[in-house]
Symmetry: C3
Subunit: 113 residues, 3 copies
């Protein structure tokens, strides 16, 4: 089944739950026909930092499968995080909540783990 | 008014709030013309266990009124909960987040209390 | 860009994050062509009280820009808050979750900070 979905995260401690959700979802969809994007804003963007201690292998594997990882630039600025400090596969958008709204208006479902 | 809505819960401690939301909603809609489904994943599925100490009377009354209670099978497996341990009116779906996405793509609203 | 979005809040401690989200969003949209509504239910409605210690200047400025602030009347009743105790620009709806559902069914995006 083709699906389009945004996962929203704004709390660092929700990353494990969110990634488990996404991995479960991948067992039941054809990612090649689907669009799954994770939009992080507020403190949750810290997980994208190369020196964050996050499990890059898990994120990178999901990115290779086609999951899109997005960071809010306002959040990065507030936390003084520069783009060069992020994993290379992270997409940066000016305003995270605007991305989330626009995608829903384009027909994406929304999930907040 | 006819409505279609999914309530999503993944934290056990949000059940009281969620059920209060649903009970308030029922005061303002005609449930016979509406579709209201509660999808629990992660640890929130424990509330569906017969021996959980949850208020079965409250859940069962809502189920009789037409509210659909759904559990994620991935979550049940992770927590070693078998279907026979759940209240009889609980519907089990393979992947909770997939159910949530599909329903939204069919036109359901989404609420995360 | 024209957008329509509901921000949902039911926990008092999420107000700072929610208002920061809305302020960031306003930098990227034309509010005159957009509909942005904040729906508070459960304990989050206390923030609308004139004597709550909330930053009325910030809320009022957003209200003047066109952001709609909405309170759930069920929540007000539960907390024994009367309408006269709220900031004057707060709109009261009978059932907060019904408002959230109806707006989504009218095409609004949903965000839960």
């Amino acid at each position: 089944m083709k699906i389009k979905a945004i996962f929203h995260i704004d709390e660092s401690e929700k990353w494990d739950l969110l990634l488990a959700n996404v991995e479960n979802l991948l067992k039941g969809i054809d990612i090649k026909d689907s669009q799954v994007e994770i939009v992080a804003n507020s403190k949750a963007v810290m997980h994208y930092k190369k020196d964050s201690g996050s499990n890059n292998l898990s994120l990178e594997e999901l990115a290779k499968k086609g999951i899109i990882f997005t960071a809010c630039n306002n959040a990065l600025n507030s936390l003084k995080i520069e783009k060069v400090m992020l994993y290379s596969y992270v997409k940066v958008v000016p305003i995270g909540v605007k991305e989330i709204i626009e995608k829903q208006l384009e027909g994406y479902a929304y999930i907040k783990p």
